[in-house]
């Protein structure tokens, strides 16, 4: 039974360009208080463009209706559970948005004098300190713009450190359950990727791991808890063996929501890691960005951090860009400052009780697991932390696959879980509820999953052809890829 949602009408809306009509305006500029300038004279006639062909002309009222109507075609955390595994789709507190819009911060220019930027610099310095405390690391750079960018920065730091020891080495170990960004990042930093197998329990295969250790290994990129939501129980041994081998240990912090306040990567031997402020620290995903991917390091890697760094001297914050061993800049200015404000607001809200959020995240994942396990195959049975990975093994026999179940969840009023990842689980269904879900919402989700399992037995076509309730049915991705239409073009006779 579908109890979370009821179908209702949604407004149709054309593209902006189809709303356009010459002379309609959504703007009004104040009168120019200086003499106007002839563009051809100032810029040279050849540098002045003709009409902006195709650009829309719409009114303010149409503009707000346009975007409001479009917004209603989206699902959102504010509408309910968004159980994408590894994405940590938690509630985005609105006070964070208000804080980021405080005038002096929102209108801060990165080149304004340090004497007029002390507020922003303090925010960054405090956030760095808090992130170091939460991760158990010694120093933090906030500069990387997102998680993958943080990974890239982290591996550059490792490489710079190893180069200073005389040999950058050539290979990075990557467990086969890792995110696709890890191997892509290692390649971008000039390393060969060597895959490490997982055991039947879903953890790093220690025997295989040991066999791969040799002087060419620069380090490992490990996710802990891994993408199966399992804690790597041999992590201390793994980091010790790597250090003995002269290698460094990178941790993908995508799953830090399982650890904050419970366990600190710095305490189990991690040398460098990134954090996703848009996951663990509640800043909004915004339909795919912006994020921020700060990188936390141990002392040994600190000299290589991107320039500039913030230093506090005699009560005044200053930028230090005299860092001869630095890897340089990975992004202009200081990073996604507006995201830092939001993340700090989140940390301030939880404060020293941040652990409680983590514990609720673990409770929610385990509660969902217990509720769903009777209906779906659970390939790895160790205790879950913040997420759980089921497979479609039972339903596949009925001709229903993970993607079908995911689409059917939409009809029940939920966003689907992550499908087909991690790659080591065929037909994976990766579920992460986060701590910001209440029991009622979780119960509705369990009911939905149970009901879909029953539908798969009784009426598999119902599931296979889902969703049935959305504005658009399944979209033709094949034609989209074969004959890409990637921009609107006026019909020939309109021009």
């Amino acid at each position: 039974m579908v109890s979370k949602v009821t179908p209702h009408l949604s407004q149709n809306e054309p593209l902006l360009f189809e709303r356009s009509s010459p002379g309609k305006k959504g703007y009004q500029l104040p009168p120019l208080d200086v003499p106007s300038v002839d563009p051809a004279g100032a810029l040279g006639a050849g540098n002045v463009r003709g009409e902006l062909k195709g650009f829309p002309e719409v009114s303010e009222v149409e503009t707000i209706r346009h975007f409001t109507r479009l917004s209603t075609w989206n699902y959102a955390i504010d509408l309910g559970l968004y159980p994408l595994g590894s994405c940590t789709m938690k509630y985005n507190p609105r006070v964070n948005e208000a804080a980021a819009r405080v005038e002096g911060l929102a209108w801060g220019h990165p080149y304004q004098p340090e004497s007029l930027a002390q507020g922003a610099m303090e925010i960054m310095a405090v956030l760095e300190r808090y992130l170091a405390e939460i991760t158990g690391m010694d120093a933090v750079t906030l500069q990387p713009a997102a998680g993958a960018h943080g990974e890239f920065t982290g591996i550059l730091l490792m490489r710079a450190c190893l180069e200073s020891r005389g040999d950058a080495r050539s290979a990075i170990l990557v467990p086969d359950s890792s995110h696709g960004t890890n191997p892509a990042t290692a390649r971008m930093c000039g390393y060969e990727v060597v895959n490490v197998k997982s055991t039947s329990r879903g953890l790093v295969d220690m025997e295989h791991f040991r066999s791969l250790l040799n002087p060419s290994v620069a380090g490992i990129m490990i996710t802990n808890p891994n993408t199966l939501g399992l804690f790597e129980e041999n992590i201390s041994e793994i980091t010790r063996l790597l250090h003995d081998n002269g290698s460094l240990v990178y941790m993908d912090g995508a799953n830090m929501n399982a650890l904050a306040g419970v366990s600190r990567p710095g305490d189990f031997g991690i040398d460098v890691m990134h954090l996703n402020l848009h996951k663990t620290f509640s800043t909004p995903h915004g339909g795919g960005g912006p994020g921020a991917g700060p990188v936390a390091v141990k002392r040994v890697l600190e000299p290589y951090l991107p320039t500039p760094r913030i230093v506090l001297k005699d009560g005044t914050y200053r930028y230090d860009d005299n860092l001869p061993e630095s890897i340089g800049k990975v992004r202009a200015f200081y990073g996604n400052f507006g995201v830092f404000v939001r993340a700090l607001a989140y940390i301030l809200a939880h404060g020293s009780d941040l652990r409680n959020a983590t514990m609720d995240a673990l409770l929610n994942a385990n509660y969902l697991r217990a509720g769903i396990e009777p209906y779906y195959d659970l390939p790895y049975k160790d205790r879950s932390l913040h997420e759980v990975v089921f497979s479609d093994a039972i339903q596949t026999k009925l001709g229903v696959k993970t993607g079908d179940i995911a689409k059917r969840l939409i009809d029940y009023g939920f966003h689907p879980y992550t499908t087909s990842f991690p790659l080591i689980v065929p037909g994976a269904m990766m579920i992460e509820p986060t701590e910001t879900e209440g029991k009622q919402e979780l119960d509705l989700f369990i009911d939905a999953m149970a009901s879909i399992a029953k539908e798969a037995e009784e009426n598999p076509d119902l599931v296979r052809n889902a969703p049935h309730s959305t504005r658009v049915k399944r979209v033709d991705e094949v034609t989209a890829a074969r004959k890409p239409i990637v921009r609107w073009e006026a019909a020939a006779n309109d021009q």
Binding site: S20, G26, Y75, L105, A145, V262, G351, A370, D476
Partner: protein, 447 residues
């Protein structure tokens, strides 16, 4: 805690359903040595009221109440109210990347509109759904050019934003893609075509220029493109001031355009988050990094949108991906989309005209360092930029960016910017301070 929607009795009930008796049972299986012994050393949790207070206090220690002539990649433009209204809609703010097309058509269609308007602005045929920012878009464009040409050297103009060049160097350092700089004409501030030509050879994948460049000077894109193409290299044209495209000829001769959209209703926000973009010709679409939205139909034949050509991305190709970047900057790009919709065809040009007029008013009577045509930024020769800025601060004016840090030969100069938000009064005050300097900085009086 207000973000944790559970009562203790619900927690107990849920633990029971898991066969557990306490929350600590959830971590009992972790190796004891990894468990954190002490509580986090953080202050006690704060109320909403205290949080706002905290940030207002920090905001007050910024540049409130100051006039500013800073540009250099971050510009003060008026932000239409609708931009924040739209991005504050929960359905845009709190949604994920639109992988599930059926319940993401809103985000997908706005991105399609974004891609279209970027193409219309730049004269390109396909744009991605945005990237982190302008600085990180540049190495992506360079790598793309290397893949297309199968060549392995990059020439970048010194007139490209210095921080963008820093990012380019650190980003491609380990990809066998050496970066070589070429100079600018000391008189005009434009690229030095002779220097460029002397460095071009069969190994060059791309020539990267910026227009208007870091000095505010409009470059001769056509000439640069012709030279690059003669040698089989691609031309990458970078922009940091998107408003200029309302008035300037689009860089149609370039093969790849990489830019920053901060000017389009995106708060300066002390340097980010911003939205970059890379656009190109259809022939190169397979090498374009980042997400792309395409138009298609649904099972009933209705128009629909979806992410497309995703096989270029890291979650499928892993170590063979074109880039390790996952995210675009959807919400920030949405601000830019709303901005473009509101100003539209006529408004964007009018806005650009106002910027042109303000900057030329500011420049009038001052000693400009370069003679090349400029849009809303120009380089002022002023003896000691630091001394002038100090004097301006006394009048609650933030002056320009001293250039010596990036260009030792321009240590006597600063970069100034005026936008539609620079009032005549502020600009007159600026000139008064200049005139009052011990060695007058007004060209007319020094002459």
């Amino acid at each position: 805690m207000r973000y944790l929607p559970k009562s203790d009795s619900e927690r107990t009930e849920m633990l029971e359903a898991c066969g557990l008796s306490s929350l600590n049972d959830l971590i009992a299986h972790l190796p004891p040595e990894v468990l954190q012994a002490q509580a986090l050393e953080l202050p006690p949790g704060k109320s909403e009221y205290e949080i706002m207070d905290y940030f207002r206090a920090r905001g007050d220690r910024m540049a409130n109440g100051y006039a500013s002539f800073l540009g250099g990649g971050v510009y003060r433009h008026y932000r239409p109210v609708l931009a924040d209204v739209v991005v504050s809609r929960s359905e845009f703010l709190t949604s994920y990347t639109p992988y599930q097309a059926e319940i993401s058509q809103g985000t997908l269609m706005t991105i399609f509109e974004f891609q279209t308007m970027i193409c219309q602005l730049t004269g390109m045929e396909v744009a991605n759904a945005s990237m982190y920012d302008g600085s990180t878009a540049v190495p992506e464009a360079a790598l793309m050019a290397a893949r297309i040409t199968r060549r392995s050297r990059i020439l970048v103009a010194r007139g490209v934003h210095p921080e963008y060049r820093d990012v380019l160097r650190s980003s491609v350092k380990h990809q066998d893609l050496p970066v070589v700089e070429f100079g600018f004409n000391l008189e005009s501030g434009e690229i030095d075509l002779v220097d460029l030509e002397s460095k071009l050879d069969e190994s060059v994948a791309a020539v990267i220029i910026q227009s208007p460049n870091f000095f505010g000077v409009v470059e001769n894109t056509k000439a640069a493109a012709a030279l690059a193409h003669q040698h089989g290299a691609l031309l990458v044209s970078v922009f940091t001031e998107a408003v200029s495209l309302g008035l300037l000829e689009p860089p149609t001769d370039a093969d790849i355009v990489a830019g920053e959209l901060q000017s389009f209703a995106i708060s300066p926000s002390y340097g980010g988050p911003f939205a970059g973009v890379v656009a190109t010709k259809m022939a190169h679409i397979r090498q374009l990094p980042g997400r792309i939205v395409g138009q298609t139909t649904d099972a009933d034949g209705k128009r629909a949108f979806c992410l497309t050509l995703s096989t270029r991305e890291q979650h499928i190709r892993r170590e063979k991906a074109t880039s390790n970047i996952c995210t675009n900057q959807a919400l920030i790009a949405l601000m830019a989309t709303v901005f473009m919709a509101i100003y539209g065809k006529v408004g964007l040009r009018e806005l650009a005209m106002q910027n042109l007029a303000k900057a030329h008013y500011l420049e009038d009577g001052l000693e400009r360092r370069f003679s090349g045509p400029f849009f809303n930024e120009f380089v002022l020769r002023c003896g000691s930029p630091e001394a002038l800025n100090e004097a301006l601060l006394g009048e609650k004016i933030i002056g320009g960016i001293p250039l010596g840090r990036y260009y030792p030969e321009l240590a006597d100069s600063m970069l100034l910017c005026a936008t539609e938000m620079s009032s005549r009064e502020e600009m007159d005050s600026f000139k008064r301070v200049c005139a009052a300097q011990p060695e007058s900085l007004l060209a007319k009086t020094t002459a």
